[in-house]
């Protein structure tokens, strides 16, 4: 019909059209609607939507739930990202040695990651409330006898522990790929120059695995920001909302308190923060990547 030109448009439509339609309905349109709702006081049900300007955003700063959730999320993110990446890197160093059962260890270390956050949270709810006290009785170690999910302080560490347990194996796999790709000659040259042990790791391995560091930091930071399932099932955000992340707060604001407008404002601010932090991180760590 339309000759070569029309044919090209038809092909464009057939190849890209379907993906773009689903993407628009599910991601793009809701994203822009969300910006609109954040300037309204909509409750999710009523047919009239009242425009309130910047009111929701002004309220955020004095919103106790949001401020507390935000502080918790940042603290949780920083601690978890540091611990997860340190452990993952050390595990990767361990598994790049000539160990006999290397593949078995890799499988076991990775295993927690295939379990979904919700089920993982329930498993650890049992471990913290029943398993730890039982171990405490057997061994007499005080650490096990703490009320892990009962206080804000221990609740924080419970959430950190479960997140590290879940993510470390995944990051380890990425670090292993980075370490393996370091040319052997460089390590040999380093050894000949007298570098050994830690200085070999610090001067040669660490700079050369920076691409893996970029990826792992990005993944752990965004996973921590988005943490929802495992916290919902482990603590439900408690005790006394002390382990509520921003993601949980947005959910409660919209779907239990029915403040869709305020919830949308939180969601937009949340998006801006996540995007800004991850972009700054990627830019910073990318600059430190070096060519082998």
């Amino acid at each position: 019909m339309g000759g070569p030109k029309g044919n090209q448009w038809l092909q464009q439509l057939v190849f890209v059209g379907p993906a773009f339609i689903f993407f628009s309905i599910i991601v793009l349109i809701p994203f822009f609607f969300g910006i609109y709702y954040s300037f309204t006081s909509w409750n999710g049900i009523s047919t009239t939507v009242e425009w309130v300007g910047w009111d929701n955003f002004k309220r955020l700063f004095s919103d106790r739930h949001f401020v507390n959730a935000f502080l918790f999320t940042v603290k949780f993110m920083i601690v978890t990202v540091i611990i997860t990446n340190t452990i993952a890197f050390l595990l990767a160093l361990l598994l790049t040695r000539a160990l006999k059962l290397r593949n078995l260890y890799r499988t076991v270390y990775f295993l927690p990651n295939v379990i979904g956050g919700l089920l993982l949270g329930y498993i650890f709810q049992f471990i913290f409330t029943r398993g730890f006290p039982a171990l405490g009785e057997l061994t007499g170690i005080g650490l096990f006898q703490l009320p892990w999910l009962g206080t804000a302080g221990t609740g924080f560490w419970a959430v950190v522990i479960i997140s590290v347990w879940q993510m470390a194996g995944y990051m380890m796999v990425i670090y292993i790929a980075g370490i393996i790709s370091i040319p052997k000659e460089l390590l040999e040259a380093g050894k000949i120059d007298g570098a050994s042990g830690w200085s070999l790791i610090r001067r040669i391995v660490v700079p050369l695995v920076m691409p893996s560091v970029t990826v792992c930091l990005f993944l752990t930071i965004s996973n921590c920001f988005k943490a929802f399932d495992q916290i919902l099932s482990l603590t439900g955000g408690g005790p006394f909302k002390s382990t509520e992340t921003v993601a949980l707060d947005i959910y409660f604001e919209a779907f239990t308190r029915n403040h869709f407008g305020l919830g949308s404002a939180k969601a937009i601010v949340f998006f801006i923060i996540v995007a800004a932090v991850t972009m700054v991180q990627v830019a910073l760590t990318k600059r430190r990547e070096v060519e082998a």
């Binding site: 994203f31 040695r97 379990i115 979904g116 650890f124 471990i127 099932s233 947005i250």
Partner: protein, 278 residues
Amino acid sequence: MTDDKYSWRLLCLELLAVAIALVILAPFYFVLINSVKSFAAILTETAAWPREFVWDNYLRAWDVMNYPVAFMNSLIITVAAITGIVILAAMAAYRMVRHPSLLNKLLFSLFVSAMVIPFQSIMIPLMKVTSQLGMLNSRWGLVCAYFGFGVSLAIFLFHGFIKSVPREIEESGVVDGCSPYGVFWRIVFPLLQPMIATVVILNALWIWNDFLLPFLMVNSSPSLRTIPLSTFALFGEYTKQWDLAMAALVMGVAPIIIFFLALQRRIIEGITAGSVKG
């Protein structure tokens, strides 16, 4: 360093690796042994090996979770969503690589930059949009939602892969008289196999385990509940009934663990390929 000393050090590392493995496996051990104890035994001797095996826990959890239905829902939704994501994304990525027009470059950066949007940032309006389109409380509505969320990463991964496929291979197909669609399906698509494996694995782990999206979209119809949703319902209804809960957790994690152990090498390779590119 002498050989003798070296293997000594290696042995220490080997033991350390075993110890770490045991720490990681300990929670699974606890859940497993307690899933076959009576409620009283769980409370009084949590750490001990079960004195008698109470298989009844499993029968009750099976009924409460409506396990066969939940399993089939999880399976159908995961398989249908992945099939769609692979096909839609491979087609779009192919066109974008081979015709890098301004429009396609723009679309590609739109798909890619949307990956930083956290789900919780758009879930509120998403509920409004999907409800107006009649997508709520429907398996297919949920599958379509996964298409929308899944295509971004898949397009990004296929895009990188197709760039490395030489154009000459396609030209032989054109000479043989294939239409552009024929070239894609018969020549390009089969070549994408390694990246398809990565996309399938990444999406399988995500969709099978996903909680919040199905919770918002289908949880009010019990017959559509997936494994995470029916586990959530069980824990909500039978609080602290650990005998029931432990059996439910074992049955809940069993399918994905079996899947992982069966394909572990490919899964770990696929994840590495996906993240290093991503």
